[in-house]
């Protein structure tokens, strides 16, 4: 054959060899040189984790009554990814869904908008979760509806119905306790970021629901349990090709609180009664709080806040109107541990202790005139009463302001008067701080307020922060106000000029106001309860606690929380003893006498202090009633407060009496601990029993507070 043909065949042969050589080289490069990289990519490809959230632990009261439990519900979710692929973004699907669910389509549409996007309603109406996560649009859907949605897949692309465990509030004795229990919400972006690239099984996932407030948030990790993880091998089409690993979910532990449902119910009712009482007197009674703590442990037995809300509205998301209502009446935060109020005369116990610290003769005689004049200012007694020279005990009983004005003025002068250095001694502020005021009590609930102790230091810091505004206002002279009310503008201008030049000065008036719990000092009702508990137990300040222990879903005790001492109050023993001897006089011979008329004080002495704290503007006083009982062997401290509520004695006093009556089983003039709302007359020493089936052993019948507590307590 021709040379040309041979040559060309040879060229083809060489070409073939080089082609195969190329393949071999490329294969070697991919598999041997870069193999590890591709192996990692392959591993990523095939494994998908499916997390099934664990059943959340329930919350029990001190006797084992469920305050929060679970039930199953049918939830309908919308997958927006699928919806977006439908004609018109699935408008027809939404219409059909609205019809079958019998709810307005606008409601579904609002729910499907991502929070912060255009036209989205504020949370929790809008969707706070991920774009890829199906949005729950309706819960408690009846089974028939759910089934017909699932059967008509073609008509409802992206819509699914599934069973979900949701929170339930059995509300024994109709307790509310919303601010203690808190509520759940979808996991936030911040929480997800915080945990970084965690690969742990129990890490938070975008679909998770977590505690947002209250105990649900504080003990979220305890209650959450561990999700069940199924590791699947998945192909490109999302088809499962095999199960690699299956881990069962571990249900969340049960949280036992020191709250007693029955007492809590009484306290809530009595707080409401106090508010009504204020309103009957023509005051607004805008908000209030009540706290019952065990003085020897710091455990919170009951804690109520007014206004409150129904915790079950959070299940399945609240409506825009519900949420607006919650925002409008400020019922979302607890006035008991998040509200800060001027303590008024209840603070005099602290001032008395401070007098003891500063070496004042606690058994001396002090003048109680109707008014005292300091410089150009006149400071009056309440209702301008004059009692003449009286003992300090009597001054506490009748709540004589002028006695404490005198003590405060002397302390102030001793420290150096207006020119005293910022760190000059201030026994009242120091004692208040020692009693835990101006700092968070450390209660096991999130978002606690610290309150504030008025002092030279505070005044100076406040001046530094505000002086620029004050000085500018003094310069400008309130031109806006001047147009309508030149007199007021003059007054404001003068005030700001004074504040601008020497607003840092701790003046006599400041010291006097501080001594009677007015001025810049604010406290939470919980802090006040802890102050009176410390006086009651002889000077030990406890860290208040709501949680008493943790029990596993199988009934084993996981942890018990022992009482935590914050500190021994820095007050001489004799001063505390003096207070313990003096305060029972308030209910027998003083400002608390009227509400305790007919109460068997001889058998059950009650130590107390009233307060009617003045607030700026023309609002009515804040009604305070702080107490502990029995005065001779203190067990519980009870504090109640109603803003714009009038006097402590008239508004809060009667309710505190009722609470004490139910605590000790007072009926008329008899005291019988068997009639106490607490089972056995006092808080149970041990944690309640939970059966191996997860059902808590609650008191039977009437004592349980709910019709079928066993069913309510069972976890689905």
């Amino acid at each position: 054959m021709s040379e040309r043909s041979n040559l060309r065949l040879l060229v083809l042969a060489v070409l073939v060899v080089s082609l195969l050589g190329t393949l071999l080289a490329r294969t070697f490069y991919l598999q041997v040189m870069e193999g590890a990289e591709y192996r990692a990519a392959a591993a990523n490809n095939t494994v998908r984790e499916v997390a099934e959230p664990a059943v959340r632990g329930i919350v029990l009261d001190q006797a084992g009554r469920p305050l929060v439990s679970n039930r199953t519900t049918v939830v309908v979710t919308v997958d927006r990814q699928v919806l977006a692929q439908q004609a018109n973004d699935g408008a027809a699907v939404i219409s059909r869904l609205a019809r079958i669910l019998d709810m307005p389509r606008e409601k579904i549409e609002d729910r499907l908008k991502t929070c912060g996007s255009e036209g989205a309603k504020p949370p929790p109406v809008c969707w706070n979760g991920s774009t890829y996560q199906p949005v729950p649009v309706a819960s408690d859907v009846d089974t028939q509806t759910a089934l017909s949605i699932m059967e008509r897949r073609r008509e409802f692309p992206g819509i699914s119905a599934k069973l979900e465990a949701v929170r339930e509030y059995p509300a024994p004795f109709n307790v509310n306790a919303a601010h203690i229990l808190g509520y759940l919400g979808p996991v936030t972006e911040e929480q997800l970021e915080e945990q970084g690239d965690s690969e742990a099984d129990d890490r938070l996932r975008r679909t998770d629901v977590v505690g947002r407030t209250g105990l649900e948030r504080q003990y979220d990790e305890v209650l959450r349990g561990k999700p069940g993880i199924t590791t699947l091998a998945v192909d490109t089409a999302g088809r499962v090709t095999g199960t690699l690993e299956e881990k069962e979910p571990k249900p969340g532990d049960y949280l036992v609180t020191s709250i007693d449902a029955r007492l809590q119910s009484v306290v809530e009712q009595q707080l409401l009664a106090a508010v009504r009482r204020a309103q009957e007197q023509g005051y607004r009674g805008s908000s209030g709080a009540a706290v019952v703590v065990e003085v020897d442990t710091g455990r919170v037995l009951a804690m109520a806040s007014y206004p409150t809300y129904d915790p079950s509205i959070w299940i399945g998301g609240v409506t825009a109107r519900q949420f607006q209502a919650l925002m409008d009446d400020e019922s979302l935060s607890s006035n008991a541990y998040q509200g800060q109020f001027a303590p008024g005369s209840t603070f005099k116990a602290v001032s008395t202790a401070a007098a003891g610290v500063d070496g004042f003769d606690l058994y001396g005689i002090y003048p109680c005139p109707a008014r005292v004049k300091i410089g150009s200012q006149t400071f009056r007694n309440y209702e301008t009463n004059a009692y003449g020279p009286i003992s300090l005990t009597r001054a506490l009983e009748v709540s004589c302001n002028t006695v404490f004005y005198d003590i405060a003025r002397r302390m102030w002068q001793e420290a150096g008067g207006p020119e005293a250095p910022i760190d000059a001694p201030d026994p009242i502020a120091e004692t208040a701080t020692s009693f835990g005021l101006g700092a968070k009590s450390g209660i096991d609930l999130p978002g606690e307020a610290a309150g504030r102790v008025a002092s030279r230091e505070f005044k100076f810091e406040n001046w530094e922060a505000k002086k620029d505004t004050w000085c500018r206002n003094a310069e400008e002279g309130y031109p806006e106000t001047r147009k309508t009310d030149p007199k007021m503008a003059d007054y404001y201008t003068a005030l700001d000029r004074e504040n601008c030049t020497d607003g840092y000065q701790w003046r006599a008036g400041d010291a006097l106001n501080a001594a009677i719990g007015q001025g810049d000092t604010t406290v939470t009702p919980l802090q006040m309860a802890m102050v009176y508990a410390a006086i009651a137990n002889g000077g030990t300040l406890y860290q208040p606690q709501v949680a008493k222990g943790i029990i596993s879903a199988e009934g084993e005790v996981v942890e018990t929380f022992e009482p935590v001492v914050t500190r021994q109050v820095d007050v001489p023993r004799k001063a505390v003893r003096f207070l313990r001897n003096s305060l029972p006089g308030v209910t027998t011979d003083g400002s608390g006498e009227v509400p305790f008329a007919g109460f068997p004080l001889d058998r059950l002495p009650v130590a107390a202090k009233t307060g009617s704290a003045q607030v700026t503007g023309d609002k009515a006083a804040t009604s305070w009633f702080a107490s502990y009982a029995p005065a001779d062997d203190p067990q519980y401290a009870v504090v109640m407060m109603v803003t714009e509520g009038g006097t402590g004695s008239k508004t809060s006093g009667p309710s505190v009496r009722k609470i004490l009556e139910s605590l000790f089983g007072v009926s008329g003039t008899t005291v019988n601990s068997r009639n106490s709302v607490l089972l056995g007359g006092s808080p149970l020493p041990d944690l309640p029993k939970v059966g191996p089936d997860g059902i808590p052993q609650t008191p039977k019948g009437q004592q349980a507070g709910v019709a079928d507590v066993r069913a309510a307590g069972s976890t689905p």
Binding site: M1, S2, R4, S5, N6, R8, L9, V11, L12, A13, L15, V16, V17, L19, L20, T22, L23, L24, R26, T27, F28, L30, Q31, V32, E34, G35, A36, E37, Y38, R39, A41, A42, A43, N45, T46, A233, V234, D235, T236, A237, R239, T241
Partner: protein, 390 residues
């Protein structure tokens, strides 16, 4: 089969000389058998994951084995055909294959797979791909035209080159309409190789190479290729950055091959293969199966086996006793070499993604049969040369 053959008139055309078994190219035969069995294993591994749990996981394998048996029988038949008979009937074979090639356009008969309308539906869920037979027919027809009526030392006349070019271009145009770009590229390479080895003038060869390059460029420029064709053809250049399905496939294929390492995950153990991350891995992407499950060692064995087949085919082409036999063998070399390179290359990310099988390895009955016919034709050429005493 022998009973059937004795009653068939074609039997008389079969060579009956002694020494058939002795003179066979045993290396070629054994290499072809080995790679076929090797391929069956890979097809089994790739297809068992496809089967729903309630159906027979071996059903795909069984069909594959049947195809192999039919293929080997056809190969045996091809090896024994008499040259004269073959040359005489080549125009009929060619004509028949063109008709077959048109059948997918007949409504009710054609099936579109992966965008290519290149399959004919048969009863019982079987499909045949006539373009596979067209490769054989084109080679045979070109060999006839380019070796006819001339001295063995002279170059083919321009008229014959033009005619043989036309023989290749007709099916190429039909297959182009069917969107089977891969087969078009292979047929083009085959035609070019056969014309070159026929001894045609150098300007023909250069002209054809230039023409092919210009043709592809113009096709892309004028948008003659549909967008997805361009995308499929170009996605291999930068698969990491593209999320289109073509690039995704290229990427998944490379992950599968690369993950294999030296010795692979083991048969049936490749996560990419068993998880079906690589599409059509029993056919177009079959190389990803050997790459992932048997690693570089398995891949090298497969490539080397194909190398042995091609080496024997080149030797047969060299030793052919006439131009006809040489051109048939040359066409087959070009076909198997380029198809192998294209198929394996696309799994390795160095060639564009086109839907063509790996000869003797991939599932797909028509390809298996056509390739075994090719092996049979190679043997036929060799036997002819041995007997001629070359």
């Amino acid at each position: 089969m022998s009973g059937l053959l004795t009653t068939d008139p074609a039997v008389r055309t079969l060579t009956r000389q002694k020494g058939y078994w002795r003179d066979l190219d045993w290396v070629l035969l054994l290499a072809a058998l080995t790679i076929t069995i090797f391929g069956s294993m890979l097809v089994w591994s790739a297809s068992r994951a496809d089967m729903a749990s309630d159906s027979d996981p071996q059903s795909y394998l069984k069909r594959h084995v049947i195809n192999i048996v039919i293929g080997i029988a056809l190969g045996w038949f091809a090896s024994r055909l008499d040259y004269r008979w073959l040359r005489a009937y080549t125009p009929i074979i060619y004509g028949a294959s063109i008709v077959l090639l048109m059948l997918p356009f007949v409504p009710g008969l054609g099936t579109t797979i992966a965008g290519a309308r290149a399959w004919i539906d048969l009863p019982g869920g079987m499909t045949i791909q006539p373009s596979e037979f067209a490769k054989v027919a084109v080679i045979l027809m070109m060999a006839v035209l380019l070796s006819e009526k001339r001295d063995i030392e002279s170059e083919p006349r321009d008229r014959d080159v033009l005619l043989s070019l036309g023989v290749a271009v007709l099916p190429i145009l039909i297959i182009l309409v069917q969107n089977d770009t891969g087969t078009v590229l292979i047929l083009g390479s085959v035609a070019l190789s056969v014309i070159a080895v026929s001894g045609a003038r150098t300007r023909w060869v250069i002209g054809l190479i230039t023409g092919a390059i210009v043709g592809v460029l113009i096709a892309v420029q004028l948008g003659l290729l549909k967008e997805y064709q361009v995308q499929r053809l170009t996605s291999f250049i930068n698969p990491g950055e593209d999320v289109s399905s073509a690039a995704y496939n290229a990427n998944q294929a490379r992950i599968a091959v690369g993950g294999g390492g030296w010795s692979g995950y083991g048969l049936f153990e490749g996560p990419q293969t068993q998880g079906k991350f690589v599409p059509v891995n029993e056919s177009d992407f079959i190389f990803t199966v050997v790459g992932e499950e048997l690693g570089f060692i398995g891949s090298a064995v497969l490539i080397l086996l194909m190398g042995v087949i091609l080496w024997r085919a080149v030797v047969i082409a060299f030793r052919a006793d006439d131009m006809y036999g040489r051109l048939v063998a040359t066409g087959i070399v070009a076909w198997l070499a380029f198809q192998t390179f294209e198929n394996v290359g696309m799994s390795l990310g160095i060639m564009p993604i086109t839907g063509i099988p790996l000869p003797l390895v991939s599932a797909g009955g028509t390809s298996m049969m056509a390739t075994w016919i090719a092996v049979g034709l190679l043997q036929n050429v060799r036997l002819h040369a041995v007997r001629a005493g070359v």
